[in-house]
Structures are given as structure tokens and as C-alpha cells.
Symmetry: C2
């Protein structure tokens, strides 16, 4: 397909619009739409929040009668099913658009090409694939969940240059700087769920919420009431969670996952925003696959904020998709605590394969974003 300059510009604009919903649409995807008639933008919009109108509806409302005979640029295939809103493909047909340009197909099994087919059946020209990679990247979590039923798993790590997270006595405040710690707030904000381990809760007693005051420049595009708190998940295999944990003081959803039952005494004291889930144990530990399948019902992205053992278990088992490592320009020495516990690899060919996708300074620290590529030796473990 030879895309015109106008096509390129308009799809870029649509992606720019989609980004505006990046932190607020979950578990829906972020989508943008631009409607162009006679080389003029006559309508544009983006999906803002699950349950509210889709991007196409906003754009069509703005365009009104000017949408007739126009071209619609959409970052994701228009939906073809009746969900909380009627199908967008139908809306585009009814108003009489002439052409629809789609960046990427919707892997949602309820759509899966049917939106495009519906448009074509109505005699509308549909061109697919303009800025596909960018549009895909915008909804990595949604795409993975639709394709596999599992959420996109990001492991957040912070360490010194020599890979240590604390001195031998556990002292770790602070290895990374305030900018890096604020940056983590954005990772939390984009996540449907945060996962931590009971050891981290017992050692640090964290709140694991998104703190609006630490969102920096994001506050200009997001009001405090728009902040979606991620589900806070604690892996607590042997039901050791203390009822006094700081987590409970913040009224946003919490999921306690164990392999044994909590005491009834503990259960009766639990606040209403806390849910308990019992999952099968594998060698005494919670099955991480089972956990991710469970979360995959509603979570696009999950963030692992845990210690070396749990973070390493997600990576070593091949369940993690991405690492975000904040590295401080410090050295702690060999007696410090290790960043990641992984299997005792015997050959270089066995270590996880990482692909660097981004590297930048965040304050005085360096932030690496790396993708984990599927490693044959890890399959089925």
C-alpha cells in the first residue's frame, strides 16, 4: 500500500489522540479517530474511559453530516459487536463514510477482522496497516491479553551498577534517586495490577498505590479523580499477611493470594476492598501461571514490584515480558543483596534473552527497558 502524506499525517494525529487515553481506558484499549473530508479534519476523538463512547463515536458526533463521504482514520479496527456501546463499524456505515484507514486489526476474539469485513460488505474501502507497529505498541497489554488470555508482565527492578539492591544488613534507602522513584508511579498508573510478595510486605510495609502528588507533569493531563488505582496483589502462599499492613489503609482493591485458607479471625477483620483467592501450589509456591490466567480476565498490564526471588521466578519461568531496570551510579560490593534469583544456569545459551528497547537517564539514574524474548530452554517450565 502506498500511503499518501495526508494518510500519514492523519494516522499520526489519531495515534496522538489515542495516547490521551493511555492511563484511563483500561481494561479497554486506547484508541484515537480522525475524520477527514475534502482534506479537512471535520471530526476527531479518542476513547477516554471504559463504559464511555469509543473514539469513532466522539469523532462522528463532532463531524455530524460532514462525515458523509469522508475518510475515517482509526488506530484500532472498529468493533463489530454490541458491548456497552453499539458497534462502531455500524455507526461508520450508517453515517456514510467512504473510506476507513485502520492502523491495526483488533485481536479481540469478539472482533477479529469482523469489523473490517462489516465495513467492506457495506461497500466501504478499508485500508489496513498504516503505522501498525506504533498502534500495536500503544496497547501491548490489551493485545497480549486478547491473543493469549494473559496480561503483559513488566518486572520493575532497581539496583546499583553491580546489581545490588541493599547492603548486607538490608539498608536500601536510597539507592535510586527521587526522579526514578517518581517514574515508578507512571508504571503503576499504567498497570491494571501490581504484584508483590509477602516478604516485601513484611519487610517494607509498602502502600503500593499511585500517589497523585508524585505524578509530575502527568498531572497536567490527568485530574486526581481520573487516576485509576491498580489492583494490589500480594502473593502470600502460607497466609502470613498481617491485618495491620499499611496496604489495607488505602481503600482501593486488594487481592490476597494464598495456597492455604486464612483464619476466620483474619477474614472477619478484613476491610471490604480486600478479596482473598486460593490458588493451587506448585512445589509449595503459588502457581504463577494460574495467577496470570486469573488476572488475564480483566488485566492488560501487570507490574511486578517484588524481591529477588519472586521477580526472578517470573523471569526464570518465562512469564515476564519486560524488565524496567532503574540503575543507580553506585557500587555496593559483593556482600550486598542480589537483584535477581534465577536458576543456576550452566551455559550462556541458557540465560534469558533480552532485547533493549529504551535506555535513558531518569535523574541521576539510568533506566533500561528490555523485552524478554521467549527462550527455548525456558518453555514449559
Amino acid at each position: 500500500m502506498n500511503w499518501s502524506v495526508l494518510d500519514n499525517q492523519m494516522m499520526s494525529r489519531a495515534i496522538q489522540l489515542a495516547r490521551k487515553g493511555f492511563y484511563t481506558t483500561r481494561p479497554n484499549p486506547s484508541v484515537g479517530c480522525v475524520i477527514v473530508n475534502d482534506n479537512q479534519i471535520v471530526g476527531e476523538g479518542y476513547h477516554q474511559k471504559a463504559g464511555e463512547p469509543h473514539a469513532e463515536v466522539h469523532a462522528l458526533r463532532m463531524a455530524g453530516e460532514l462525515a458523509r463521504g469522508a475518510t475515517a482514520y482509526v488506530t484500532l479496527e472498529p468493533c463489530s459487536h454490541y458491548g456497552r456501546t453499539p458497534p462502531c463499524a455500524l455507526a461508520l456505515i450508517n453515517i456514510g463514510v467512504k473510506r476507513v484507514v485502520v492502523a491495526v486489526e483488533d485481536p479481540n476474539p469478539q472482533v477479529g477482522g469482523r469489523g473490517i469485513q462489516m465495513l467492506r460488505d457495506a461497500g466501504i474501502q478499508v485500508d489496513v496497516g498504516l503505522h501498525r507497529d506504533e498502534a500495536y505498541a500503544l496497547n501491548l497489554g490489551f493485545m497480549k491479553r486478547m491473543e493469549s488470555g494473559l496480561p503483559w508482565v513488566t518486572v520493575k527492578l532497581a539496583a546499583s551498577l553491580d546489581g545490588k539492591t541493599a547492603l548486607s544488613n538490608g539498608v536500601s534507602k536510597w539507592i535510586t534517586g527521587p526522579e526514578a522513584r517518581r517514574d515508578v508511579q507512571r508504571l503503576r498508573l499504567r498497570s491494571c495490577a501490581l504484584i508483590t510478595g509477602i516478604e516485601t510486605v513484611l519487610a517494607d510495609d509498602p502502600s503500593l498505590n499511585v500517589r497523585y502528588s508524585e505524578l509530575g507533569s502527568l498531572r497536567a493531563q490527568l485530574s486526581e479523580s481520573q487516576v485509576l488505582q491498580p489492583l494490589r496483589v500480594v502473593l502470600d502462599s502460607r497466609a502470613r499477611m498481617p491485618i495491620t499492613a499499611a496496604l489495607f489503609a488505602i481503600e482501593s482493591p486488594i487481592l490476597l493470594v494464598s495456597t492455604v485458607s486464612y483464619s476466620s479471625d483474619f477474614m472477619v477483620q478484613l476491610p471490604a476492598h480486600v478479596t482473598c483467592l486460593q490458588l493451587p501450589a506448585i512445589e509449595g509456591r503459588i502457581s504463577l501461571s494460574a495467577l496470570l490466567s486469573y488476572l488475564g480476565k480483566s488485566c492488560n498490564q501487570v507490574l511486578i514490584e517484588a524481591g529477588a526471588t519472586l521477580a526472578g521466578a517470573f523471569i526464570g519461568s518465562g512469564l515476564a515480558d519486560e524488565l524496567v531496570l532503574y540503575q543507580a551510579m553506585k557500587i555496593l560490593g559483593g556482600q550486598g543483596r542480589n537483584l535477581l534469583e534465577l536458576p543456576d544456569y550452566q551455559m550462556m545459551a541458557d540465560i534469558p534473552t533480552l532485547k533493549l528497547v529504551d535506555e535513558r537517564k531518569v535523574g541521576a539514574d539510568t533506566r533500561f527497558t528490555l523485552r524478554l524474548e521467549s527462550n527455548p530452554s525456558l518453555a514449559n517450565k
Copy 2:
């Protein structure tokens, strides 16, 4: 001082010239000189090799009579003493230059302002400090040695993102990529001496020489015969060096340092390019301060290429000035081997203070250059 545009341009040119000698002048400093008469460059030159003429002499020869009444830009204070060549300050006076611009004073106790004084006494205008930092940085090792009697100590490190240098079974080939390993050749080339430990010799049997074929683009500015091989120093406290070591096969100087005598059997078999040095032991180990004082007599820069214990000893004792860390985008896990053994710090305030001076990609790896700042808690250790 308000420097003119011409002043700035000419000193930049002089520094550019000085850089041409960067790899060949040791143990002398790299110096460049530009002579300008009536806004025209009439002479320029740089110091190429110890024992050969200084930068000023080259530039004055080129300028000839045009040096009379001219301005000379020199990156380092002209020498005032009779060494292997007569004093450059005298040459500038004799030819009749009118003004000398100096980037930085020579801390050499044999010069130490006397070059500048000699010029001023002869009625020449001398302006000092233009591009001082850059000129200083060009000769970090020489400057430190002249000021303290000790060489500039760079510790070369290579590790994974989680600070590991090998798997638990010792497998380490290859963590960093070929570009990073070639880059190390440049570090060696700029060094008067390389220091390694007997453990590294016994484990890896390295040659530790500069390999011309791996110098990449540097070969365009340097012929093979211009390559100065660094002195290879092995710290071999208990005299365990095997006579079969690969090091001995390459005929460039080697220094074996021990705290006990080598056997006469070993001594008689040693090739002529090997020297033995016995140094005092401190808690059973070679005194690193004594070693550096010894090397400081003739070495501007030394490079530590050693394991976690020896590299850590230079850093932990406050004797290292700089770290160059090649970091591979890999994770090996907590069972891998640690990068650095340091004292068992109990507080964050006790860890070494690092300042990042450069960060860049070298092939797929990231190279960090960091300066160690003197740490009060390390003093006198």
C-alpha cells in the same frame, strides 16, 4: 580574562593537535602548539614521542622568522628546564614571540610556574587558563603523577545488568560483545601499565598486550611500530606464577610483584623482558600503595584488569580514580559471580562516591565511565 574568538579557535586547534600524540607521548604529556602572526597560522606542532622535540619546537621550526612578534598558543606551560631537550620557554624568548597563551600550568615540580615566569621576565605577555579543563583532562595521568607521585588508576570492569561476571561454574565467554572487547584495547593502549592478579593469570592465562589488529579506526592514525605496549604487572603475592604463562611469550616488559622470593629455578628460566619486584606485605597482601608509588616514578596511567577481589581492593582502599564499566544487556542471576568485593558497608554513606562522566553504547553494551570521589570514610585505609 576576555578571550577573543581567535584565541578560542587557536587554542582549540592546539588541543586538537595535542590529541594526535595521546597514545604515543607517555610518560610525557600530550601537548599541542599553534603560532599565529597577523591572524594567520604560521606554525603548528605537537609532541609526538618522549625524547623527541616538544610541541613548541615543531611549531617554531615551521614558523621560522614569522614567529617574531607572533602569539604562541600552547596547551601546557612551556618547560623551563634542561631535560632531553632545551627549555621551550627559552626558545620562545629567543625567537621573539610577543605573547604566549597557555591552557594550563605544568604541575611538574621541575616547571611549576617557572616557564611562565621566565617568559614574563623576558617581557612577553602570558595569558593563562584558556580551555584549562579540556587541556587538563587530556593529561589526567601526567597531572596526577606530577601532583602526587601516583599514577591515575582506572579499573576496567565488565558485567551483566545484575552485576555478574560469570555463571556459578565460571563460564563467562562472552558476556560483553566484540565491540566492547575491542574498546578495551584502547584503554590498554593509553596505559603505561596494566595490573592483574595471579588468580586471573591462573584462571584465564591472558596475554594482556595491545593487539594492533583490534585497534579499529585508531589504525588510521597510528602505525603498528608506534604502538607502545604497556608494562604488564602481575600481583603474585605468594610467587605462584607458572613459567609456562602465555604472558611470557610476548616480548614486552613484565613486572612480577610478590611478597616472597621466587625460586632460583624459576628465576633462571625467566625471559629477559621480565623483572621481579618484592614489596612489603600488609595482612598477607601486597601493599597497593607501595606498588602505586613504585609505578608512579614512570607511569601516568595504570589500568586494573583483575577479578572481583583485586579490583575491589583498589576501589575499597580509595586508590582508584576511575571505573570503566562495560555492561551487557544480560541477566545471569544471583548465583553468578560478583563483580566487586568491597568492605561490608553498614551505611549508604560509607559506599564509594561515584560521578558519572560518560555513558554510551559500545556495540550492544553500555559503557559507563565514572570517577571515584575521595570518600572521608576511606581515608587512610
